[in-house]
């Protein structure tokens, strides 16, 4: 069903365990080990970072919204679960996924415009021929079994932001964490509401601009503590309905400093959030894992070598003539 995530093809066919995901990728490699050995590629998390940057460039040129980019990113991930990347021209796949996502998210772009913009970004890897794009669209839709409707965490965030009294900063931070999760495997692993709740939690415990480096460890500790509290809370307050209101504190008394007030408000929100999670049926373990994946993504990002990744991708495209057509 289009509205209910639980009935959706996304939940029924496009959610995997980590083991299943690993198996699918292994199977693709096993189909042609020689091909895989001839053209070594960095780990998927680095490839995703590269794709993300490239799709963002194209998205910017076409001025498409983040939601469209997110849908395209998930299309690419699904596609590469089923097709060996070394048999494709990733630039063509990126372009096609964005072209298709534009239509699905009701902001269509003309195929010629998309082809022209893509070509100007990657002149060595794409032709101007729109029929290549049209053909790749068939390929993409076919591999996805025409299951093109994507449920995104942005909607959950929009629904919950007032429940948690999120400030604009916190909303923005949650939003960008959701953007970032599309660079990871998370959208293939967890339902959108888990991702949205994780993003909200992180926005509450993280300071803006603190998502990198050593402070990440502290942040994950803070997030973990909140979830642990929620888990305990779930056991302890069977039927309890007081959690939500007790978590909310009114702004600090007169005389306290702004910083104190902020801290107090933040603390109150985390409490409130933990109480909400404790009371709801939300899969807390999934949130814990989601949190860890996000934090490790921010760490991975620091080690990412753009040039090496690009060179390895471009090498197999050129060597195998995948750009010709």
């Amino acid at each position: 069903m289009a509205a209910s995530f639980w009935e959706s093809t996304q939940r029924r066919y496009w959610m995997f365990s980590k083991e299943e995901l690993a198996q699918m990728r292994e199977k693709l490699c096993d189909e042609d080990p020689k091909l895989v050995q001839s053209y070594p590629l960095p780990d998927w998390k680095y490839l995703y970072i590269y794709f993300n940057q490239q799709i963002a460039r194209l998205g910017k040129r076409l001025s498409v919204r983040q939601q469209v980019i997110a849908t395209a990113q998930l299309y690419i991930k699904r596609f590469y679960c089923k097709v060996e990347i070394r048999r494709t021209n990733p630039y063509l796949v990126i372009t096609t996924a964005l072209y298709l996502a534009c239509k699905m998210e009701e902001s269509p772009q003309h195929i010629r415009l998309v082809a022209t913009e893509a070509r100007s970004l990657w002149p060595d890897f794409l032709s101007l021929d729109t029929s290549r794009l049209g053909e790749c669209e068939f390929f993409l839709i076919s591999e996805m079994n025409s299951q093109l409707i994507i449920h995104q965490p942005y909607r959950t965030l929009a629904t919950l932001q007032s429940d948690f009294y999120l400030t604009q900063d916190e909303i923005n931070l949650s939003w960008s964490i959701i953007n970032d999760h599309y660079v990871t495997d998370l959208p293939l692993l967890y339902p959108p509401h888990i991702v949205a709740l994780t993003a909200i939690l992180l926005s509450l415990v993280l300071r803006p601009n603190s998502m990198t480096g050593a402070s990440a460890a502290n942040n994950i500790a803070a997030a973990g503590a909140a979830l642990a509290q929620a888990q305990v809370g779930r056991g302890g307050m069977a039927g309890g309905g007081t959690g939500a209101s007790s978590g909310q504190t009114t702004p600090g008394a007169p005389g306290t400093t702004d910083k104190d007030k902020q801290q107090e408000a933040r603390f109150g929100k985390v409490q409130r959030f933990a109480a909400f999670v404790a009371e709801s049926q939300v899969d807390i373990e999934a949130m814990v894992d989601c949190t860890q994946e996000m934090i490790s993504f921010y760490e991975v990002h620091e080690q990412y070598n753009d040039k090496a990744t690009r060179d390895q991708i471009n090498r197999f495209i050129k060597a195998r003539g995948l750009d010709k057509a």
Binding site: A2, E106, S131, G134, E135, S142, S146, I149
Partner: protein, 462 residues
């Protein structure tokens, strides 16, 4: 690719192939499965291997529909909708799939409800899209048409009730899933030989949950004109599932009277491609429903075409012969004549010339004539044909209407207990080759009667 079928348009060398020749021959041997390459996209499934086409059903702007049976043991019959590739006649090229086809493919893949036509599979092959649906022997247009044939006789009350319930149930499902159908009309409501009603043709349907752009932006004109809601006729930008409910009301009326209740003439788009005010259609509505007023419909005055209402004539019933004349001085322009229309329709149905009410029913089942639908039938109809989209019944509300809980029990087989048999869908043998791209005509083979000619579906993609 198409060695078995020399007629296939794709047997000509495509540019893709020629280009493919240029690349390394060795690579071609190494990697027959490479994609995005000269070898091109190949479907894993071939439509002619999976299905045996047994005839041609109809064609439209989208392409053609064929009737088929499975070749690989799939039970039942199928309707295969083949989307017309662009650039008919020339060398067929991949040109990008139209947004409406993408929508229909994506929506049909998600939806699953007894009262919505079921998608079996989609095959993308030879630059064409084949959507395979379960087959339905009848549709409401054909059923209504059958009842107008000699002797003209109304559709039995139990059947009307069952059809309405199933239709509303399908609508409720679509709307609960944030899907607007946007083209409900008798021709798009399928009925299986087991009497199950199935909403079909989601070619104009789309999701309406928080669209990135106003719904108006994409398709300026939706819904075949006779079934188009007043808010659309008045230029509403932000329409809602209520537009489908208006169409359901029109279909209800048509099931009762066997003719479209608001049979207007469509004003064509002018050369500047501005959307004209559909004056004639609005007049037809006003004639029966009375002038809309801002008391009944508070947002009326903010409608884009509000001022155009002044162009309309004061409503009058065209079928005045049966009307009470005495009240005309008291009734204002906004008085609805729907109630009169309803009781006249369910009372004396067997032809406008005969004066013997209710006795002309050849079903010889007094309990099953339309009069048995009674006052609740009117209330349901009036609730669906409510001017104000916010007050109009939702599908959920309509399903809970006393109309369905009083009187005869609602069956999920609309043919239950009836002797009438309806003719099978006409299937022509002229074009059985699903793989050729012969120019589609615009005629529907199912209906020989051109006097029934319906206005064409208006699809205007921006």
């Amino acid at each position: 690719m198409s060695l078995t079928n020399p007629h296939s348009s794709s047997s000509a060398p495509s540019s893709a192939r020629v280009q493919g020749m240029k690349r390394s021959v060795q690579a071609a041997f190494d990697d027959p499965s490479d994609r995005g390459l000269g070898s091109g996209y190949q479907s894993k499934v071939r439509v002619v291997d999976r299905y045996k086409v047994i005839g041609f059903i109809s064609s439209g702007t989208y392409g053609r529909v064929y009737k088929a049976v499975g070749r690989q043991g799939q039970p039942g019959e199928f309707a295969i909708k083949k989307f017309k590739p662009d650039k008919e006649g020339e060398q067929i090229q991949y040109t990008g799939i139209s947004q409406s086809a993408v929508r229909e493919m994506a929506l049909c893949s998600e939806l699953a409800n007894l009262n919505v036509i079921r998608l079996v599979e989609i095959i993308l092959e030879d630059k064409c899209i084949f959507m395979v649906f379960e087959y339905a022997e009848h549709d409401l247009l054909q059923i209504i048409h059958h009842h107008t044939q000699n002797p003209r006789c109304p559709i039995p009350a139990t059947m009307v009730k069952s059809i309405m319930f199933q239709l509303l149930n399908g609508c409720q499902y679509l709307h609960a899933n944030w899907v607007l159908h946007r083209d409900l009309k008798p021709a798009n409501i399928m009925v299986t030989s087991a009497g199950q009603v199935k909403i079909g043709d989601l070619g104009l349907a789309r999701l309406f949950h928080k669209p990135l752009h106003s719904l108006y932006g994409g398709d300026k004109v939706v819904v075949t004109i006779w079934y188009r809601a007043p808010e659309l006729l008045l230029g509403s930008r932000h329409y809602t599932p209520a537009i489908d409910m208006w169409a359901v009301g029109c279909i209800f009326a048509e099931l009762l009277s066997l003719r479209p209740i608001f049979k207007g003439e469509e004003a064509k788009m002018d050369s500047k491609k501005t959307v004209p005010f559909q004056r004639n259609q609005m007049q037809k509505i006003v004639d029966i429903m009375g002038m809309p007023t801002k008391e009944r419909w508070p947002y009326l005055t903010s409608m884009h075409e509000y001022s155009s209402l002044g162009m309309l004539q004061t409503p009058m019933m065209h079928h005045h012969s049966h009307q009470h004349h005495h009240g005309s001085s008291k009734s204002s322009a906004s008085t609805s004549h729907l109630e009169e229309w309803y009781y006249r329709t369910i009372g004396t149905h067997s032809g406008s010339s005969t004066s013997s009410p209710a006795h002309g029913n050849p079903n010889n089942n007094n309990n099953n004539n339309l009069a048995s639908l009674g006052a609740e039938g009117y209330k349901l109809l009036a609730g669906l044909l409510e001017y104000d989209p916010e007050k109009r019944l939702t599908a959920q509300q309509a399903l809970q209407h006393p109309f369905f809980s009083t009187g005869d029990k609602v069956s999920n087989n609309c043919f239950e207990g009836l002797k009438t048999t309806y003719p099978q869908r006409r299937v022509s043998q002229d074009d059985n080759d699903i793989r050729t791209s012969s120019l589609p005509g615009t005629k529907r083979s199912g209906l020989p009667d051109d006097s029934l000619a319906r206005p064409a579906k208006r699809v205007k993609e921006a």
